[in-house]
Point group: C2
Chain length 215, copies 2
């Protein structure tokens, strides 16, 4: 390949980033800060068959589709992972990631542990970050402080969290969300470091070796 | 092992960081900034048989030793790598790294590409960062601007740089030192991200799973 030419695989410089955690560990807040820091990252928006709730915007909160459309997407392999919950389907679109590769430098998937496991299997070069609560006691306190869940839901989430933690071995990084600022700095650093990985910089090095410029 | 007990291998949390580059690419300045940012990192001080120059401090600039001592260190395998240059020996001590593991969180090795290659072979868990000049033209301009090297030395350094760049594949990260602030932020991020690597956090996760605290 001529140095400086369009890369054969544009994905070389693209970062698929999976951010997962038990419910209540703080992944949503951390990702909001990450997106504010890196404008060339975009978040993956899930596809769902459920009806929009008041205030929800199509394409921002979810891609709202019919059951027929969802079924057709399954059939053509459009999903990295999907699941049915209480009669509604939710899925993570691989097609949207392919679109994003053309004009963004990365896509962030904020997803539960089960979904992250499936996504990682479909996108092997995805970088997985597991957000860890500092302790189960703290996690329970946070779920209770949100004030949105019943005692029964909290008990279920805590039981799930114990099962989910056992899957941390599938992920590349573990960020302990004890102090939000420190955890946020770590997550941001992971993106910067991953972009400096040698194989993602290989084309820049080749350009210097061939006496062009690295930028 | 009981969660929270002293780890069997204290090195789990220790980061050996190799920073290498062709001469003039800026590794010294970047590492000075890195050490200012992370006080729990220490820089590896080379061992040499050459005499101290005016102003040089033993233990800060070099560990100054006799030829006999150096020879004894070679014989007991004390060096990760060593070389003889113009009749003087220079070496990187593995023993100092073992000492540092006891009370520091990492050791930075600022070293040329040949030495880095040997060091990486001896310390397989070391993380290698290759500092890349933005172009050969810029590298030559920087060497000339230093005003310390003769034209002959500059020509030799440029020839070496071309050979050294070909070894970048041995390293984990490539940082392009185009803008100093951006390059410095990247190098600092690499340390933060490496510390969040799953296997370095495994004991913290195990403590949470066993219902202690992650910190």
């Amino acid at each position: 390949m001529t140095p400086g030419a369009t890369p054969v695989n544009a994905a070389d410089d693209f970062l698929p980033l999976i951010v997962t955690s038990p419910s209540g560990a703080g992944k949503t807040t951390l990702v909001r800060r990450l997106l504010a820091r890196y404008e060339d990252l975009v978040v993956s928006v899930s596809v769902t068959t459920r009806a929009p709730r008041p205030g929800e915007v199509d394409g921002r909160d979810y891609h709202f589709v019919s059951h027929d459309t969802f079924r057709a997407m399954i059939d053509r392999g459009a999903f990295a992972e999907w699941a049915e919950v209480h009669g509604n389907c939710y899925g993570t679109s691989l097609e949207k990631m392919v679109e994003a590769r053309a004009h963004r430098r990365g896509m962030v998937f904020v997803i539960d542990v089960q979904g992250a496991r499936m996504l990682k299997a479909r996108v092997p070069d995805a970088v997985g970050v597991f957000i860890l609560p500092p302790s189960f006691a703290e996690l329970e306190a946070r779920l209770r402080n949100r004030g949105t869940d019943s005692e029964e839901t909290i008990a279920r989430r805590m039981k799930n969290a114990r099962g989910e933690l056992a899957h941390y071995g599938l992920f590349d990084y573990v960020v302990v969300n004890d102090q939000l600022d420190a955890a946020s700095e770590e997550l941001n650093a992971i993106v910067l470091a991953e972009r400096a990985k040698r194989w993602r910089r290989a084309q820049a090095v080749e350009r210097v070796i061939h006496d062009g410029s690295a930028r």
